[in-house]
């Protein structure tokens, strides 16, 4: 019984996070402006990080935890760099 509950909750959570990633990706593609795309990328990173955590729960492998830690660090740096670029790189040449 507990295995069934566990299996289905993990599967549903993975599906939900997968759809969330698709939606964030769609926002990244659609734009319309550069800041919307960066926001979409940030959401994509954080959704992927959560998906890795759920993978870790589903497989019982704590290696996924390290992956999600690295992912959140990379997502943070990427978004900060892109925001800085939007502020200084494009509008004023």
């Amino acid at each position: 019984m507990s295995a069934i509950i566990f299996f289905w909750s993990v599967t549903v959570a993975q599906t939900a996070l997968g759809i969330a990633m698709v939606l964030a990706f769609a926002r990244m593609i659609r734009g319309p402006r550069a800041q919307d795309r960066v926001l979409g990328l940030d959401a994509l990173y954080s959704n992927a990080m959560l998906l890795m955590l759920v993978f870790g729960i589903g497989t019982g492998n704590s290696l996924y935890f390290e992956i999600s830690l690295i992912m959140s660090a990379l997502g943070f740096v990427a978004t900060v760099a892109l925001a800085k670029f939007l502020m200084r790189g494009e509008v004023i040449e």
Binding site: A3, F6, M21, R33, A43, S46, L50, L53, M87, E90
Partner: protein, 141 residues
């Protein structure tokens, strides 16, 4: 082989609850990011995923690893701490960049620098603007 089959029923229900709460909130947040009009509306949506979306999944993984390894496993909480500290930094930087770009394009929807100066002077400037409007009205008549 699989530790999942030995999972107690209460733990399975708790894990399921927090997993679905976290994943559901993250999905709603990303849906909002996709659907809402305007950048400043959209910036509110992903915080759902980074506040209770992350908290739900982190709590679920703390419960799962604590039960299966029969000891308190707290390292998933580090993800929660990291996300809580970094999200405000990225969102503040991003919204400031957006504000800067909108101001540079003279977008009427965002508060301009002059507007901010006026509101900080409180009621004094309000009466000024009223008198200005009245004088314009009389001039037209």
């Amino acid at each position: 082989m699989n530790p999942v089959t030995d999972l107690p029923l209460w733990a399975a229900w708790l894990i399921a609850f927090f997993l679905l709460l976290g994943a559901g909130l993250t999905l709603i947040g990303s849906f909002g990011l996709f659907r809402l009009p305007g950048f400043y509306d959209r910036i509110h949506a992903p915080t759902l995923g980074t506040s209770w979306g992350t908290a739900g999944i982190v709590i679920a993984s703390v419960i799962y690893f604590s039960v299966t390894e029969s000891q308190l496993v707290l390292h998933p909480l580090l993800i929660g701490v990291f996300v809580t500290v970094t999200t405000p930094v990225t969102l503040i930087l991003l919204s400031r960049a957006a504000l800067y770009r909108d101001r540079a394009e003279n977008n009427p929807d965002v508060p301009s620098l002059q507007l901010l100066e006026n509101t900080s002077q409180e009621s004094g400037s309000k009466t000024d603007s009223v008198t200005v409007h009245e004088s314009i009205g009389t001039a037209k008549e």
